[in-house]
Symmetry: C2
Subunit: 356 residues, 2 copies
């Protein structure tokens, strides 16, 4: 059966890195992968054409696809849009919600070749390999009621942080299963000393634990987790948390590696359909200059092959190609260091394809 | 006029470090400071005696005081209390709310003597001096409605993240004024691409900016702020944010220094009344061993002298005493390194008093 892959370049550096992913997908096809690749518009670039960050056409294509590859969305051009529902980010959030992509996997791992890029002391990050499992379709991102309105003669802004038991259980199972496949340690992050919603969160995690006796479950308050990530990140294996805390902690964790331009992510729904994207953003400041790092995007292709298309061997081929390019000393600007060779986005893409 | 100071040792290591603060207060009195020091119970230790983490008697004393010095609250002993309103943390939150202590100042600065304690590379943190201004009596910590209840056949947990314009303006002014006294750069942290409440937050900050033309205002999303703190913390001068984001970011920032046992904090209300406490927690794992670092607590006394009692000279004397003790190579376990002398809580207190 031919898998449909939808490529959504998005905004900023999105199109440049997506172009490298497209070349890689073609190479995979030539190597025997049975996929059909389509493209679509999302984010600011979709708004510019259709007046909507998530046009109906894109959503239809996304629903029909086995997997989606997304570059990045957003940029200053659209930051001043009065109507929040038209902002590029809403295209991304709409895809997550409409496809039910509740399980967000954000690995933070250090490439040994890039150890010096970390702002942390080498001994604290050597061999770092954390998997953050973030709930992606609930919590304060989507909770109702929300808005800005007049109360007692002044405006108030409000959002609702809400989770149901079934939502917590669903993401909890993803995290426990992930821990089983990895180091068998799961740390659930909450703020149960203050927030009722996270008291329920903690309770559900506790309730699930006996079903995964090989996994050691611990709990940590979010403020402490932010500290511990900075202090001693290697204490973590799998971390599970809600949408908002996950947004913050996964970015901090990614930055520990010093090379966020290297990190892919996956967002999965209950039927294994997935959206794959780099952890980094649309970096509008460097867009169009052919200097962005395409590796997170190319590694997102590998993650897609592994999680949605069950093509482990080909995923490993991509990862090995990236590794050998790094071994050869090729670096885009964001990961450049003394004694390495600075290359452009295209050149990095060329090198990975040559090594594939 | 005699200032009333209320000392609330609290739980865990609280009593040990509060004892050192008490000695320091006595030394200040001998040096001519006109204060009257009382003690009170809060947190778990208050619950054990009165069945309440914030007994009425403590609250009355707090209201009558010019300034409050708090050790720390919380511990595993009370973590299993079913009734959240009885938990130690509620004592702290109750003090903040009842006294209207909305302006939380959390400095994250690196002591040059402790530069090697940071997990970051030395060049990234040398001279680090950030002031995080956190809103402390609003936001999701106190928003209504909140709770856990049955909906559609299952339980849901929910909290409300809410701010009014006047609450935002009030903390904004504290932050702008702080920036004026410091490096004149203010970064407001929000998640305005997703949360309506922080769209209002950003709008109010923008509205205030023209009144502080000497301050350069910028905005950053919270996920990016967490990354930037890890990547290049020295880009920040003053940071202003809401209660929850402030909780997370101030702990991450404090940990950048590698010596959270050194950092005091202040929580002020509109009449300048303040509560002063270390940034670290109650550390139940090391309580009662006479090894906790009392310096954050002793520096909280200095911060109190500066912000609530207007005794700048005496505050500086304390800070200088702490500096000279560090110069002499004295270290509690948390900040120990090769070539320094390891001392107990009491011995550190002795040394500061001797240098005062
Ligand atoms: C762009 C934004 C809406 C998004 C989020 O907050 O989820 C991004 O930060 C991310 O983490 O994917
Ligand atoms: C103890 C807890 C309620 C408190 C908070 O979350 O505010 C603490 O983490 C702090 O930052 O002072």
């Amino acid at each position: 059966m031919t898998h449909k892959v939808l490529l959504l370049p998005g905004d900023g550096i999105g199109p440049e890195i997506a172009a490298q992913a497209a070349r890689l997908l073609k190479a995979c096809q030539e190597a025997g992968l049975d996929i059909d690749v389509e493209e679509g518009l999302v984010g600011g670039s979709a708004y510019d054409v259709h007046g909507e960050p998530l046009p109906a056409e894109t959503l239809e294509k996304a629903k029909a696809a086995s997997a989606i590859l997304l570059g990045a969305v957003g940029g200053p051009k659209w930051d001043t849009l009065e109507d929040l529902s038209k902002r590029p980010e809403k295209g991304l959030l709409g895809l997550r919600k409409n496809l039910g992509l509740f399980g967000n996997l954000r690995p933070a791992m250090l490439y040994p070749q890039l150890a010096s890029a970390s702002s942390l002391k080498p001994e604290l990050v050597a061999g770092l390999d954390i998997m953050i499992v973030r709930e992606l379709t609930g919590g304060i991102y989507f909770g109702q009621p929300r808005g800005i309105e007049e109360r007692n003669g002044e405006r108030v802004g409000f959002n609702t942080y809400i989770y149901s038991e079934s939502e917590i259980e669903r993401i909890g199972r993803v995290a426990f299963e992930m821990a089983q496949k990895r180091g068998k340690k799961l740390c659930s992050v909450d703020k149960a000393n203050v927030l009722e919603v996270t008291i329920l969160w903690r309770e559900v995690m506790e309730r699930l634990a006996p079903e995964y006796p090989d996994v050691e479950l611990s709990h940590m308050y979010v403020d402490n987790a932010a500290m511990q990530l900075v202090r001693a990140p290697k204490q973590f294996d799998v971390v599970v948390t809600g949408n908002m805390f996950g947004d913050i902690l996964s970015d901090a964790a990614a930055m520990l590696t010093g090379s966020i331009g290297m990190l892919p992510s996956a967002s999965l729904n209950e039927s294994g359909q997935g959206m794959y994207e780099p952890c980094h953003g649309s970096a509008p400041d460097i867009a169009g200059q052919n200097i962005a790092n395409p590796l997170a995007m190319m590694l997102s292709v590998a993650m897609m092959l592994r999680y949605s298309l069950n093509e482990t061997a080909m995923a490993e081929r991509i990862e090995a190609a990236v590794g050998s390019v790094l071994d050869d000393g090729l670096r885009t600007a964001d990961i450049a260091s003394e004694g390495t060779r600075r290359v452009s986005t295209d050149e990095m893409g060329d090198a990975v394809l040559a090594a594939f």
